[in-house]
């Protein structure tokens, strides 16, 4: 997509665009807080849709949580599911549109709490959908309550003394869990805390969509993400917390990569 700028009366271009806003994003401003990496995740998905040239074939199933308005941000056909039900709704959409690309975009409360049955069974069936799972260890939209993925000791508005395993159980590792299911062909965890990891995340998202294009089965990318507002940090402090607290507890890695996906961008070497 290189765009070149020509100097008048010169044959040679002066400069070229090497990075621009992906066309699969709508030309609107998002409602996300400053520094929220939801925006980054959106951009990566849109870049992948552009690169694979599948925007016109893609249907988004939004979920409930901070990303509830994601249907306003992607320039694709979209619907909005009930809280946690995106994988079920996506199943309905995909089954009657088997040639289309269907993805859900879900947060941790949606996917790992209220919607665990739906995500587990969509994966178990090998539903040919792609799931973008944004894990920021907190309920953002409702104002910072404890999430199923909140860390032990993490203070939230509903765990004011820090998450206590006796009281609230242990955080849940979804990428590992979903990798256990035979219908899953791709389950990986990436992080969005710096440029290098963002680029790795994009490769994984691309592979996840390729898995669907090739009709292989269920693919999911868990993205460790930040919530500066509810964590009470600056955006850059929040990214540091992702790196120093979330990444050690939620190890980045490839938990399942179907052999048919080996050797692609984002697949392990």
């Amino acid at each position: 997509m290189d765009t070149v700028v020509f100097k008048q009366n010169h044959v040679q271009p002066l400069e070229k665009i090497t990075y621009e806003r992906p066309s699969s994003l709508c030309d609107v401003h998002t409602h996300y807080c400053p520094g929220c990496t939801h925006g980054t995740a959106h951009r990566l998905v849109a870049e992948v849709l552009d690169e694979l040239d599948i925007r016109e074939d893609t249907i988004l199933v939004s979920s409930v949580g901070c990303s509830v308005f994601s249907y306003n941000y992607f320039d694709v056909d979209a619907c909005e599911a009930a809280h946690g039900r995106a994988p079920a709704m996506a199943t309905g959409v995909k089954r009657v549109n088997p040639g289309k690309i269907v993805f859900t975009y879900q947060g941790d409360g949606d996917l790992a709490s209220i919607g665990t049955a739906e995500i587990i069974h969509a994966a178990a069936r090998g539903e040919k959908i792609t799931v973008i799972f944004v894990n920021n260890a907190i309920y953002g939209m409702t104002g910072g309550q404890m999430a199923p993925t909140s860390l032990l000791g993490q203070k939230t508005t509903s765990s004011p003394f820090g998450r206590d395993a006796q009281l609230a159980g242990m955080p849940i590792h979804m990428a590992e869990l979903l990798a256990q299911l035979p219908g899953t062909v791709y389950s990986v965890r990436r992080s969005l805390h710096d440029a290098r990891h963002v680029l790795q995340a994009k490769k994984a998202i691309r592979t996840a969509f390729e898995a669907q294009i090739d009709n292989l089965g269920f693919s999911v990318v868990e993205l460790l993400s930040s919530c500066p507002t509810n964590w009470g940090m600056t955006p850059n402090e929040a990214l540091t917390w992702v790196e120093e607290a979330l990444v050690p507890f939620y190890p980045l890695g490839d938990y399942k990569v179907d052999e048919r996906l080996q050797g692609r961008k984002g697949a392990p070497k």
């Binding site: 074939d57 694709v76 619907c79 909005e80 039900r85 079920a88 996506a90 309905g92 089954r95 009657v96």
Partner: protein, 355 residues
């Protein structure tokens, strides 16, 4: 096409298929399971979509997804499963996509039992989940009607972009009667313009029930109310028997109406002036027609297989001038014609004394 001896549940399923149902999502629950089983075989044979979901909650949300994609889709369940689906109904209502739900009711509350009941009247007619909405609710009283109303349900769902329920009690689901199936309809080649099919050479489509602004949501509600008003004007259905000169009119739907019909026929043979009013659409409730009947008669007797749910709608129509009595059996019990006769005769005697 000649008549076949068909089980109600099978009739629902095959009628849906012939009406052009392209996708079915469901979860087993007695007493509607034969419906799901029939779908599991026939839909696959026809290369259509059948999926046994992990729960009723998932099933209705799969229905929502397929409905948003513009195909004829349905699910079926029974009372506790319908309770679970209420979330999905509400989203479907708010999104204005068409879907058909078959509810073969059983006794409640709670897990209740699997015997025939009309326990879901309130939960299907009064609203779909939270919010201000009424699905269209059709109530067959025999297997032929189960077929005809299922076909109608798909047509109404498409016409009004709404949820349509066909509600039967377990007896109608389990019973076999001679009935005639309609011919198989061709499936449409094209999806509606609003459907989710990928934004190829067009603006993107959005199917959604979320309106953060007050104005937007109120505007949606005005639209929904206008649609419901139109349905109330145009889609009322009911049946009457012997109401012209009836002193007491029995009001009942589904299996209860069949029992009432037997009672009415026996009492007529004894020369007693009794009639039957049977709502076929439970929503829209046939208010005007019943009001007319109620004005002519001395009393109404509502017969239901619940503690009195339609009763309240009848009372609203009858007002304070026509007494409304109630006979209900609960817990999966079907009232017997003898009970209904007895109650009707007692009511006639009371009226005679009062005069």
């Amino acid at each position: 096409m000649s008549k076949q001896l068909l089980k109600g549940n099978v009739a629902f399923a095959e009628a849906a298929i012939r009406a052009g149902c392209e996708a079915y999502f469901g979860y087993p629950i007695t007493p509607q399971t034969e419906l799901l089983e029939h779908m599991s075989r026939r839909m696959i044979e026809l290369n259509r979509v059948f999926l046994q979901a992990e729960s009723e909650v998932a099933a209705i949300n799969m229905v929502y997804g397929a409905a948003a994609s513009g195909v004829r889709v349905m699910t079926s369940s029974s009372s506790p499963g319908i309770s679970l689906m209420q979330e999905g109904f509400s989203y479907i209502a708010g999104s204005q996509v068409p879907a058909v739900i078959i509810d073969v009711m059983r006794g409640g509350p709670g897990l209740g039992n699997i015997q025939p009941s009309q326990s879901d009247y309130n939960q299907v007619t009064k609203t779909a989940g939270h919010g201000d909405f009424h699905p269209i609710v059709l109530a067959p009283a025999n297997v032929q009607e189960a077929i005809d109303l299922t076909v109608l349900a798909f047509d109404l769902a498409d016409k009004y972009l709404t949820l349509v329920f066909v509600v039967a009690d377990g007896a109608i689901g389990q019973m076999m009667e001679p009935a005639e199936l309609p011919p198989m309809r061709e499936l449409p080649f094209e999806r509606p313009s609003w459907a989710l099919t990928g934004a190829f050479n067009r603006e993107r489509n959005l199917v959604n029930s979320l309106y953060m602004g007050v104005e937007g949501l109120e505007e949606l509600n005005f639209k929904l109310q206008a649609k419901l008003a139109q349905i109330q004007r145009e889609e009322v259905r009911y049946e009457t028997q012997f109401v012209e000169d009836a002193e007491v009119v029995l009001v009942a739907f589904g299996t209860a109406a069949r029992v009432a019909q037997t009672a009415v026929q026996r009492l007529r043979r004894q020369g007693l002036k009794v009639g039957l009013f049977r709502p076929i659409t439970l929503w829209p409730f046939p208010e005007d027609a019943l009001a007319e009947v109620s004005e002519r008669s001395k009393a109404l007797l509502v017969v239901e297989m619940n503690a009195g749910q339609m009763l309240h709608d009848v009372r609203l129509v009858a007002g304070i001038h026509t007494p409304v009595k109630f006979l209900g059996r609960m817990g999966g019990r079907i009232p017997l014609p003898e009970e209904v006769e007895h109650e009707t005769v007692a009511l006639l005697e009371q009226l005679a004394v009062a005069v």
